[in-house]
C-alpha cells in the first residue's frame, strides 16, 4: 500500500486528473508544443511517443511543474498549474516518482542512499527503508551494486537506479522519460513489467518511449506527438495497423 494514500485520496480526483486545453509552449519564438488537448485519468498508463524533438520531454516537464506554458491551460487536480502556490507545487512533486532522461543520480551517494533518499525524507523507519530498497533493488537486479557509487555503474545500471528511486515509495504518479533508453531488451522488459505492476496497484504512469515493442505488447493508451502537435491518441495496439 502506498504511503501517499491518505494524502493522495484527499488531493486527487478520480477523473480528469490531468487536463490540457490548447496547451502551447514557445521557446525563442519556436513553438515546442502546439494546441495540445488531452485528459489523463487517475490510474491510466499512457505512452508518449514521437521522434526526438517532438515535445515529449517538454510535456513531461510541464506536468512536473519544471517549466511553464505560454498559452492554454494545464490543470492537475482541477487547478491550473500556474496558479499552484509554492507549497501546493511541493506537495504535487512529493506525490510524483520521476525517472529522468539523463538519470541525475547524486554522485556522492551510494546506490542504496540514492534509492532510499525519498523514503528517508518521508520519514520511513529504517527497517522498512532497508526492506523496500532491497525489494526494488532485487526486482531491478541492482542487489549486487547496492553499495557502489554511481560512477562505478554502467549506463544500464544507472538507469535502473534512476527507475528504482522513482518507484520505491509507490507514488501515485510515475513520470518516466524514456526509462528503457539505455537498457538491453531483457532489462527493458523487467522495467516495463515493473511499471505495469505499479499501474495495477493504482499508480498513474506517463511514459515516453521510442521502443515499439512494449507498445505492441500492451493495450495502453498511446499519444503520439509530431513537431509539438498531438497527432494520435488512442488505446490499444491499433497504432501499428
Amino acid at each position: 500500500m502506498s504511503i501517499f494514500q491518505n494524502k493522495a485520496e484527499g488531493n486527487m480526483k478520480k477523473d480528469n486528473f490531468i487536463l490540457m486545453d490548447n496547451l502551447g509552449v514557445e521557446h525563442k519564438n519556436n513553438k515546442v508544443l502546439k494546441n495540445i488537448n488531452m485528459q489523463i485519468e487517475h490510474g491510466e498508463f499512457v505512452f508518449l511517443i514521437g521522434k526526438s524533438g517532438s515535445g515529449k520531454t517538454t510535456l513531461i516537464e510541464l506536468i512536473q511543474g519544471r517549466r511553464m506554458y505560454n498559452t492554454g491551460s494545464l490543470k492537475i487536480n482541477d487547478k491550473e498549474v500556474c496558479q499552484y502556490n509554492y507549497k501546493e507545487l511541493q506537495n504535487l512533486r512529493e506525490m510524483m516518482g520521476v525517472v529522468f532522461q539523463d538519470t541525475r543520480l547524486i554522485e556522492e551517494w551510494t546506490v542504496f542512499e540514492n534509492i532510499a533518499y525519498k523514503l528517508e525524507y518521508l520519514g520511513y523507519p529504517s527497517s522498512l527503508i532497508q526492506s523496500k530498497v532491497e525489494e526494488v533493488a532485487t526486482d531491478l537486479k541492482l542487489d549486487r551494486c547496492i553499495k557502489n557509487l554511481p560512477r562505478n555503474l554502467s549506463g544500464g545500471e544507472r538507469q535502473r537506479v534512476n527507475i528504482a528511486r522513482a518507484i520505491v515509495a509507490n507514488p501515485p504518479i510515475i513520470i518516466a522519460d524514456e526509462p528503457t533508453a539505455n537498457l538491453d531488451k531483457a532489462n527493458a522488459k523487467i522495467v516495463f513489467e515493473l511499471l505495469k505492476k505499479k499501474n495495477k496497484l493504482g499508480s498513474t504512469i506517463i511514459m515516453s518511449t521510442h521502443d515499439p515493442n512494449f507498445i505492441k505488447e500492451s493495450e495502453f493508451r498511446i499519444i503520439k506527438l509530431i513537431k509539438g502537435e498531438k497527432v494520435y491518441d488512442q488505446c490499444g495496439s491499433n497504432y501499428f495497423i
Binding site: 519544471r66 512529493e94 520521476v98 533518499y117 528517508e120 518521508l122 520519514g123
Partner: protein, 220 residues
Amino acid sequence: MINVGPTILSNLYLIRRSIRSVYKVGIRYVVSITIIGILFFECVFLQLYLQGFIQIMEQEIMSSDLKSAQLSLDGNQFLIMQISFGRDILSFLIVIISIYILFDFRNKILLFKVIDRTDVETKIYLGIQPKYILRELLLKNFFIYIIGLSLSYIICIFLNMKLVSLFNSILPYDLQEHYRNSIFFSMVFFMLILSIVLVFYTIIIEFISIQRFKRTFSLY
C-alpha cells in the same frame, strides 16, 4: 502510521548522512588547521628557545673568562642565526597558509560554493522541499566545522607536546619548565583565536549563502 513529509526521523537520517559525508572535506580542513597549529607551535618554540639559549649563554659568559666566552659566542652564533631564520620563515609560512586556508575554506566548504545546482534541482523535482535540502547542506557544513575544529585542536596539542620532548632531546640545551608552559598556553590561545575567527567568518558568509540559496531556489 507513517507520516508524509519531513519528520523527526527524517531529520535524524539527515544528521547521520551529514556526519557520514563530511569526512572528505573534513580531512582537508583538519589537515590545514593542524599544519597551521604545528607551524605556530614551532614558531613559538624557536622564539622561546632562542630566548632561553641567549640567557644560558649570558650566564656562561658571566661565569667564565673573556676568551672562553668569546669562543662560546663564536661557536653558537651560527646556531642562533639558524634559529632566528627558521622562526622568520615559519612566521611567513603561517601567514601564507592562513590566507590559503581562508580561500580554500571559502571555495571548498562554504555552502554556496559547494552547491551542485543540478543535484539541488534533482532533489526538488524528486519532491524534496528546498528547505530540507538547505538544512541538509547546512548540517553537513556544521559537522565539518565542529568535527574539524575539535579534531585539529586535539591533534595539534597532542603533536606539540610530543614535539617539545623530541626537540629537547635533540637540541643542545633543555628548554626550561616555564618556557614549556608558555608554549603550551600560547598554542591553546592561538587555536582558540583561530577557531573564533573561522566561526565568525563562517557565520557571516553562510548567512549570505542562505539568502542566495533562497533567492535562487524559491522559484522552484
